[in-house]
Symmetry: C2
Subunit: 304 residues, 2 copies
């Protein structure tokens, strides 16, 4: 199976502590890196992860609260000092220009590479990135300001050839790619051999959904159904539900309810409030509802 | 002796590493805190130091390179979340407005306290702060952009009364403050008792000089002569002198030469380049020239 990992660089919330860094993750799909959010200190956590800086070309920012984007200026400057030349794309709500452009103008006059902001709206799901093997779509969140999660969806590869059958029907080599892509085979005699007799479906594509920050919002269930891994914020425990509602955040119990309703394979929770000294309270709350649940932690790497 | 300490929050240079945070220090004079520079991650280091956030009202920024100021947005936001109400003063080159104002406008709309930028020039020494017990003066540095060090100078307290003598001359209580402040005493008979017979001079005032970032620059010697503690940058070792010159930085040997020429009591070196795995190379280079030399290190607290 090709590499599809999520690295947690930071999983605290707005108030940084000595236990947690603010939010940042790196998705590693076949050694291409994609960063989600970039709180203060992300560049050091990125270095600590031993992932290669040069493999990162796209950063996705969920929303413009400081704990999700105050690490950008340092990261961008450091890439410059390290002699980066490849263009860096930052996908975010369009307001990011008001924050980042003055910094780029003042501090990054001689940057040896280009930073390109790719703005998106947060109102409905939108494809924000696509290449041969991956599609990234926004997942609209319900937070105090415009905010999106991201669905990372591996593209299905071509079907797998059933060697014995293509030999049996004497499929010529030059037709093989068409067969892999789902076409039927027509023999020299004019018989139609259905594709399903010649191939097995490709490995099902894996999907990772990142959902933070958001109030409990069942509208996202449809979009994240059956994902292999769901990261959902769990800022508070359920006894702090009023505070969660007031600040547009989710409790660990609610995160588990979303995972259950979406029938996801695994749940990863994070974005923990600084008020909790011991994160196991979140796991104890979520697990009874959704047992296949993991706690995020700096340095953790999860296979999707 | 009243408290006069320097806390090192970060002593790395531009490229952050997992060993060093970028530059930040806190001067603690009689439990009033003054921050010098504020690189990325400073707020977490500040928390780690156990110093009280509420005791800090003044931040001095030496220059507008990211490793000296990218921690400001996070620190300012966090103070807001913690409910700070006291005004916060940021003393820096006037260009800081181009960096900070857009951030304050966008992220800090509902900040419960006021941030006031107090701009200064970097061309000649300038008093940038003064209260009953402290004067802070800029020390012009020679760097790639306008840059200033800072001289923290404790004010002399009043003279110490010699109890036996004021008893002997029957100095009335209501005259005591005048005597402490240096006036002579005139007896009811009209005799003048010189102040020097009634008091001992106050404890000499202590001075701390912070000098970073700068190329080797002997012009500062006059201003920092005899200080109790000199922090001087030592970004490189002397075999990297051409690189130090090119980037307007100092070598450890040069920092020691400045300390020697200034006849300071103690030297503290920092702002170490990321290329050195082991900081003892800096000490080995500086000590033979100026033996009373210390290496900066995150978490270190030095009495001035």
């Amino acid at each position: 199976m090709e590499k599809f990992e999520v690295h947690i660089l930071g999983c605290g919330s707005a108030l940084p502590t000595t236990r947690h860094y603010p939010t940042s993750q790196v998705v590693n799909l076949r050694d291409k890196l994609f960063m989600i959010d970039c709180g203060e200190g992300t560049q050091v956590q990125f270095r600590r992860s031993k992932l290669k800086f040069s493999r990162l070309n796209h950063i996705f920012i969920s929303h413009l609260h400081g704990d999700h984007c105050f690490g950008l200026p340092g990261l961008i400057s450091t890439f410059g000092m390290l002699g980066r030349t490849a263009e860096l794309y930052i996908h975010a709500h369009k307001d990011i220009e008001r924050y980042l452009n003055p910094i780029l103008d003042y501090f990054c006059e001689y940057l040896p590479y280009k930073v390109t902001i790719v703005p998106f709206e947060c109102k409905k799901p939108e494809v924000v990135y696509e290449d041969r093997s991956l599609v990234v779509t926004t997942i609209p969140m319900d937070h105090r300001i415009p905010c999106c999660g991201f669905l990372f969806e591996e593209k299905s590869g071509p079907n797998h050839i059933i060697r014995d059958m293509v030999d049996f029907y004497k499929v010529p080599i030059y037709q093989m790619n068409r067969i892999k892509n789902g076409e039927d085979f027509i023999t020299p005699e004019g018989d139609v051999i259905p594709n399903s007799r010649l191939t097995k479906p490709a490995t099902p594509s894996r999907r990772y959904a990142y959902c933070s920050d958001t109030i409990f919002n069942e509208k996202i269930v449809e979009q994240i159904k059956h994902v292999d891994l769901l990261f959902h914020e769990a800022t508070f425990t359920h006894n702090e539900l009023p505070r969660a509602r007031e600040t547009y955040h989710t409790t660990a119990r609610q995160a588990a309810q979303i995972a259950l309703a979406s029938n996801v394979k695994r749940l990863l929770i994070g974005h923990f409030s600084a008020r909790y000294e011991d994160d196991s309270v979140f796991l104890n709350e979520a697990s009874p509802i959704f047992p296949n649940c993991l706690l995020a932690k700096e340095g953790l790497c999860v296979d999707v």
